[in-house]
Assembly symmetry: C2
Homo-oligomer: 387 residues x 2
Amino acid sequence: MLSFEITGEDPESSARAAELSTPHGVVRTPAFMPVGTAGTVKGMAAWELERLAPEMILGNTYHLLLRPGGERIARLGGLHRFMGWTGPILTDSGGFQVFSLAGRRTMDADGVTFSSHIDGDQHRLSPENVIETQATLGVDVAMVLDECLPYPVDSARAKRSTATSVEWALRGFARAEEIRRAEGDWDGGVFAIQQGSLDPALRRSSSEALAAVDFDGYAIGGLAVGEPTDALYEAVAMAAPMLPGHRPRYLMGVGYPEDILHAIGCGVDLFDCVLPTRSARTGKVFTSAGDLVIKNARFADDPNPLDEGCSCPTCAVYSRAALRHLFVSNEVTSVVLLTMHNLWFYLSLMREAREAIMTGRYTRFRARVEKDRSSTRGKTAPTENER
Amino acid sequence: MLSFEITGEDPESSARAAELSTPHGVVRTPAFMPVGTAGTVKGMAAWELERLAPEMILGNTYHLLLRPGGERIARLGGLHRFMGWTGPILTDSGGFQVFSLAGRRTMDADGVTFSSHIDGDQHRLSPENVIETQATLGVDVAMVLDECLPYPVDSARAKRSTATSVEWALRGFARAEEIRRAEGDWDGGVFAIQQGSLDPALRRSSSEALAAVDFDGYAIGGLAVGEPTDALYEAVAMAAPMLPGHRPRYLMGVGYPEDILHAIGCGVDLFDCVLPTRSARTGKVFTSAGDLVIKNARFADDPNPLDEGCSCPTCAVYSRAALRHLFVSNEVTSVVLLTMHNLWFYLSLMREAREAIMTGRYTRFRARVEKDRSSTRGKTAPTENER
């Protein structure tokens, strides 16, 4: 079981700092989880990840289940040993990826059947077996199976789906309780996922039904699926306070630095997003002065680091000119260097946010970051949040 | 100018240990130079390379000349700063690559004209301008322009070409002397390249003509171009002792660990080869017990490290099962982890060879390494040496 202690609250917003204790260590929140899809944060050796020192990382059950397989990872000593990562790990349930497999999956009341994108083999996710798989992996936080609705969606479907997601969450919780009681070798927590599209009444009923059981945390699901930024911001402001305040709140799959700062102000504690890692592979760079597209010809002779104020290993050594050269030359090293920088930027931002909350100046901190970054905001970064 | 001091000689072979002093530090030989083709050792961030601590690395003038350009690197402070590498750098002249561009280059008495493989632009290499470019890059060791003959080659062409290579070497040396005298901001050394295909008389005349000028080192060129291993071994044994013993001897583009151990026994001091780095990208792994093809299904559940006796960061953390998974999943991290291991293996082997020479037991050392590795030798590794 996990414990969660609030250590600071911002006087001018709902932002809070807290500590989530897990079997593999304490997660200081607000925290951003780098995405380790298939057993690695793409491009980062275990020792690079150690140097980045994220509070927690995210693994994708769907990908690990298909390859190399949950049982195999268990036989090899669990996901931590497999990845060479000794800190906390949260895994998603696989639902998000499976529900994206249009035409290759069929849903029923007891779960979803799908064919692997790798070899076409049939697999099945149920509310119970996704928890079993995550327990087998030995993760610190398991997520329940949910249906992530597309945007936009009609209200009848949203209502039906939200009710199913609640039912599945409760079934997952019950299975987790059995595993923890019976076997004793897994002591991770389970997070529920609030759904309800953009409908406040559905979000409310989802939250209330989930809060009737004492989950270890509560996630906001079904956002960052294509809705406009305004709608995302409104939905987060509406959805976050509905979730129990004595447990961590996790906004799944979001997002840009500005999106995260907004959500922190709404009382969200945990985040994950592929943006810093995926952007690194496409040459998009996050900096305190706005974002850069490194392949831009204007960097060809630029002797400066990516970000003057950055203390990451990449900025300590490489000029923009060298990084542009490595990127346009398709050098693998470019992925390593830009991933290191982008994750360093996100993780530093979260550390600074925590400090700002602890000293009661979060609102000013957020305004300053947004102002400093505003020069290029929206012009160069990827156009959609994805996980 | 460089200095070269022999610090140990093996009693049972021609192997020697030595120290080559360069502007960026001392190179303890025998030494293997990881190949940093286009401004990076593929997959290795500057801090990874620092951890590997090679005695010297190799850069490819041809690649750097085309992209990002020699003048640009010079404006950015030279190749060392560009790469974030503070140790010694040797660059090839570009000749090897240019002469591989069949159909896209024309040779005359004063050099070779070619079109870029990137954008088709016309470029020209001359005996003088390759030295100028390397001086501009600020390297520790510049190589002269030579013609690297294919295998097999008719004797008339070999004779003509060998004479041209000698003439170009002498012209390059003269130009280096001018640069070093006139400008004073470059104090690197220049190595000559012995050619002559597999013909002892040509190799002899090439060596003698080159030794008439006091180059800072002498390379054996034109081997590992497709000849059988027996012919390579014979040629090295024949060619190495022809080169002046008071200067470092460098066998270009070779090779397998066994090839290098043979050449060390013939009195060769320096090596470079793409094998450890390129093999990492195709999943071939060098170990003290022989070589592995990591994608092999038998590693899918193997909890052991790549090499039981290896102290590299990859072997400290990752199982063969995890490395197989990352490789078959096409994860970039796989390139980083296998490159780290393969280079660690090569560099450790060279360190052990130096120690064996210093303590007069090189022949036994070599026999033991070859015996330990012989179980899989030739079955799994790539089939051709290439630089």
